[in-house]
Structure formats: C-alpha cells, structure tokens
Amino acid sequence: MKWLRRWQGLLSQKPLRLAFLGLVISFLVSFPFWASRYWVDVGFYVGLYALLGLGLNIILGEVGLFNLGHAAFWAIGAYTTAILNVRFGIPTLALLPISAVVAAGCAWLVSSPIIHLRGDYLCIVTIALGEIVRLVLINNPGGLTGGPNGVVGIARPVFLGHVIRTPMDFYFLVWAVVILCAIGLRQLQRSRLGRAWNYIREDEIAAEAMGVDVRALKLLAFVVGAALAGLAGNIFAAKMRMVSPDSFTFMESCLMFCIVLLGGMGSIPGTILGAALVVLFPEIFRPVAQYRLLFFGLALAATMYFRPGGLWPRRRTAEILVGQTER
C-alpha cells in the first residue's frame, strides 16, 4: 500500500496535481459518452453517494461527530421534493435548493438539543433520529407521506427547457452538484471555519479554550451536512420519480459512515473514492447474485484492514494556505 502514499506525495507538486485533476475531470466528463447506460447509472449512484458522503464528511470527518442517522436528512430532502412537487406542482429542479434548506432547517431543529452529547451517546441519538424519521414516514402522519407506499409521480426536472431524463442527464446533474459542493467544501476546509471544525475534532476542550464557539460550529456542521443530504434527496427523488421509506434505512446511514471512513476522515477526494467503493463493490460481485453482499461485507472489513486510515487521507503537511508561497 506504499504506492498509494507515494502517489499522494507526487500530487503535492502543483503541475502533477493539475495534470491529475485534468485527467480526472476529462474522465468524468467523457465517461457517459463511451460507457453503457448501465455504467452511467452506476456512475450516477457514485455521484449521489459521494454527495451524501461529503455531507456526512463535514459532520463526521471534519468535526468528528458520530452521526449514524444521516439517511434521515436524505429522506427529508427527498420527501420535501416529492410532496411539494406532487401536491403543489413546484418544478423539481426549483426544489433543489428548497430541499437543502428544509433538510438543513430540520437538522438545526433536531440537533440543537442533542449537540452537547459526546461520542457514542451522540451516535445512538442520531441512530434513534434516523429511525424516528423513517418510522414517521411509514406511519403517514396527516396522509402526507403516503405511508409505506410513499409518494409517486414526481415530475422530471427541467433545466433551461431541457428535460432531465436519461441516465446521462442525471449523471451530469449529480456530478455538477458534487463538484460544486466539493469546491465549496475545499474552500471551507482552508478557512477559519474549516480549521475550527478540525480543532473541535482534535480536542474539543482546547478548541473551546482557544475561542472556538464549539456549539455553534457543531450546529453549523450538522446544518451544512444535512443541506448536502437534502440536495442528494432531491436528485434521488427526481431520478426515481417516487420516494418510499425503505430507501432510507439504518443500513444506508451505516453505508455513508463507511464511505467517510473508507476514504479517510476529512478528505474530499477520499470521500468520493469511498462512495465509489461502496457503490461499486456490490456491482462488481453481481455475478454471484445472492452472495454479493457477503463479499461486500468482507470487502469493507478488508479495506479497513489494509488501509485503516482510509484510502486517501487528507495530507495537511502538503497543503498550501491562503497567500502562502509554495515551498
């Protein structure tokens, strides 16, 4: 596994990094033009889970808050889109920011009273939260969520007169959002707020003593993470054209948790890589049909065995801060 580290070392040199970035982007852009529809759809799900992973990465990776209920915010985003579109006919794409805002608002409401909990206690509360959201959706309060049947008939999103319908359309939609979010998050990582998040993860007491408003910043992390999940929810609802509670199980939260750790806590490229693994593993093992999840489980454990720090951990020592000349 040394080659991976060496490889990362190479990327700290600017020309190589730019070349690599160019390669990745040209691969991402050209992919749907030469891959089959099936693989384009797989690529879409990688993007979707990358978006979810990036959201959780803020909470878990940057701030170190154990959140095993992230699927709840995904569900809230998806149901916001579904209900507002089906009941009130608001265009699906216009609901993209609204879903994010609603998910973020819900995150703010529910995490305010629990944000002071530490470690595993926060973990269990978020599990409870995820389950409560799913169970409430199943129980169909006020006939709003359609119970186990969910909400169906979501309109296709329309972008500047172009109806987003093919796998390729959705692929570009989700990856555009992923890349925008990744850029934004990278800017945050290299800012006062991003550093403060990391201070909290490293040592909460020292961070507070150094003037970091721990509570406010933890809440901010939850809100931003949930907003990204809300975006993912909107795109997911638009792609499926329906939402139902069984898409947002505890297992999904666990998978997101795995994505962040497989990639490396607090690492944006790592998270995207982790999402690729979590989506690709079950697809690779398709030939063994009913045994594919068995191999998936083994693969998760094996990855942690070989790369306990994640596949692509963040390398701070090579990072360049604002206004700094490169060494």
Binding site: D41, R241, A289
Partner: protein
C-alpha cells in the same frame, strides 16, 4: 453437395441453439430475499418446462438473472444491467416501490416487462405500453368477492365488517366501490357495514347487530385473531354459519382460526385468498406439471402466490411469442393488450386489460372442511357445509 447440406445443418442448429434471452429481476438479497429466491426457482422451473416442450419458436429460453436487493435504487441498476445485456423480455419484480422506477426504464427501452409481485393499483394507470402484471391488484380481492363470491351464492343481503386498520378498511371500501352498480340497480342490499375494535375480547354486541341485520353473506376484511373470536362467539350466540355465509379475507388463515376458535365454529367458513400452487394442481394441468417439477428439484412447494405469478409470467411470454411468431417486443406487447385469453397458465387463463392488468382476477375461495383443513371451494364437494 454434401458440404452444403452439412453447412445448412450446422446453420440450422445454430439458429435453433440461439437462445431467447429472458430477464429476471428480483430481490435475491435484502429483507425480501425469500420472495426473490422462491420466484427465481419458480421461474427456472417454468423455463425448464418451456424448454422441455421445445422452447419458444423452436429456440430455447435462457434466463438472465439480476438482483435488485428489494430497493428502488437496486431496481434501476438491475433494470439497466438487463437492458445492457440486450434482454427484450423481463420478468420482475417483487414490491411496487421497487417496480415503479425500473418499469419506467423498461418502458423507455421498449422492453416487455411482466410484473409478478406488485399490487399497487396505480402501477397500471401510467399509460405504459410494455407493462403487464400476472398478479392481481390491491383491489382484486374485493373485486373477486363482489364479482365471484356474491353471485356464487346468489346472495342478496350483504354484510361487510372491518376493523379500521388501513388494510381492512381498504378492502372494505373497495368492496363498496365494486358493489355500487349492483346496489344502484337494487340487485343486492348492504344490510350491515361497520367496524369492530381489534384487541377487544367480547364482540357479542357487534354480532347481535349482525344477527338482526339478517345477511345472506358476511365478509370480514380484518385479521384472523378477531375473526376467530367472532366465529366462536357468533356460534355461541346462535348464528347459523350455514345460513349466513361467513367469509374472511386473506389475512384470516383457516388453520389459525381453527386453533383459536375450535373446529366446530370454523367449519364451513370461507376465505378469499391469492392462488397458492398447492390448491391449483387439481384445477389446471400446467399447475400440476409445475408443482411436480418444482418438488422434484427443490422439495416442498412454497406457499407464495407471487412466485407462482412469476412462473406464469414466463408462460405468458411463451404463449404470446408463439402466437405472434414474433420476437418484437412491440408486437408481443400489442398482442398481450388485446384482452383475449392467450393460454392457460398455472393460475388459470391468462389475459390482460389494455392497461396491462391481469383479467379474470385469479383469486380463490378456500373453505374449512370437516377435518379442519382448507380446501379450494367446490360446490359439489363442499356445498353441504354452507347449506347449498
């Protein structure tokens, strides 16, 4: 000259050996893996039967199996995978919410998609051209009760009882909906329509009201614990289950009711039930052949109606392709939509509405025999139990 014959023989063999790909999409992993497993085995048996008879258009059928994990997301991936494999006919899947996004993909690609385990009513209301289902819909049971059970007994005074749970209320409301034309024409009369509270132990007040309404037939749409108590207490109250035909819904397995209420109270009571293969063998030859082949290979036949419908989806394809002598999905789909009976499958005659719904809802009426077993109701054999 010889080599020309040889070549043509080889070509003919190749042509014959070129299999027809049929996709199977089902939950082979995840919480519904049981249904996926049964459906896959049933479909494999059906394919073996078809191939043993010489295949379709003289070509063997080859299954392409994809797992959807029982999730909508898995459904779209499995569907894309099947489409990418060049499959033009697909059998699948279990679960309406899994089916919904996948069927859109099949529709767009023009792949004939025959559904076996999805009962949501609105699945067939989307104006799709390639979507079919061999299973019934959520309202099939109510429809079966109104269109088959009521005429069977010539019942005029109808009683419907539910327990206010979503499921029971749904069935009861569907019964009213399908009965509306009959009520308007005055052919039947709704003499009792009320709910009981599940979990209570004493239902004598409700049963007294039922007795006073003097119904010919009493349909209970709730679950078996209450049904069993109702039967018992009704009997004790002096209600005659030969005069008032007691019919329960498919959530009222007879064996459980016998355990709770005792045989004397349940004998002659009936339930409406999805077609289970074990009860179909006497009625349809194909069912017999299917069950025998299945049991020879996998042991005792499952009791899932959905897996049985999955096998019927294979036969539907076989019949339709043979009849049209075409492998063009559009032609096959158009033929299936015609509404004519295309053949007799495991669950009876196969025909579809223009929306793709199964016609002639294949529900069945089971009765509790004197031995306390459930049996397919046959007026000649069981008539005396219900005073016919």
């Amino acid at each position: 000259m010889k080599w020309i014959i040889g070549l043509s023989v080889v070509l003919a063999l190749c042509g014959w050996a070129q299999p027809i790909l049929v996709g199977f999409q089902g939950p082979l992993t995840g919480p519904w893996a049981v249904e996926g497993d049964w459906a896959l085995k049933s479909v494999q048996i059906a394919v073996e039967i078809v191939n043993a008879r010489g295949g379709i258009l003289g070509r063997p059928v080859q299954l392409v199996v994809e797992d959807d994990g029982g999730t909508p997301k898995g459904g779209t991936l499995a569907a894309q995978k099947l489409i990418a494999a060049g499959v033009k006919f697909v059998v699948g899947t279990y679960g309406s919410m899994v089916c919904m996004p996948s069927s859109e993909l099949y529709e767009e690609e023009g792949v004939v998609h025959i559904n076996y385990g999805c009962t949501r009513v609105d699945l067939s209301a989307r104006g799709f051209k390639y979507y079919f289902r061999t299973s019934g819909r959520d309202d099939s049971q109510a429809r079966f009760f109104v269109e088959y059970v009521i005429p069977l007994f010539g019942a005029k005074r109808i009683a419907v009882m539910h327990d206010n749970t979503a499921y029971a209320l749904g069935v009861a409301e569907d019964v009213l909906r399908f009965m509306k034309p009959l009520l308007d024409e005055g052919k039947v009369e709704l003499v009792y329509y009320d709910a009981i509270m599940p979990g209570e132990r004493d239902y004598t007040p409700a049963l007294t009201a039922l007795r006073d309404a003097k119904p010919d037939i009493w349909y209970y749409t709730g679950y078996y614990p209450e049904w069993a108590l109702l039967l018992r207490q009704g009997k004790d109250l002096g209600l005659d289950w030969k005069k008032i035909k007691a019919v329960g819904s498919n959530a009222c397995p007879i064996s459980e009711a016998v355990k709770i209420a005792g045989l004397d109270a349940v004998v002659g009571a009936m339930i409406t039930q999805e077609p289970l293969p074990a009860f179909l063998v006497e009625k349809y030859p194909l069912a017999k052949e299917f069950v025998e082949a299945y049991e020879a290979k996998y042991g005792p036949i499952h009791d899932s109606p959905w897996a049985t419908y999955a096998a019927d989806a294979i036969f539907t394809l076989a019949f339709a392709i043979e009849a049209t002598r075409s492998l063009d999905p559009a032609v096959v789909a158009k033929y299936l939509r015609s509404g004519q009976v295309i053949g007799e499958g495991i669950t009876g005659p196969l025909s579809f509405s223009p929306e793709g719904d199964r016609l002639g809802v294949p529900y069945m009426l089971l009765i509790c025999t004197e031995e306390g077993k459930s049996a397919l109701f046959d007026p000649a054999v069981h008539g005396h139990l219900v005073g016919m």
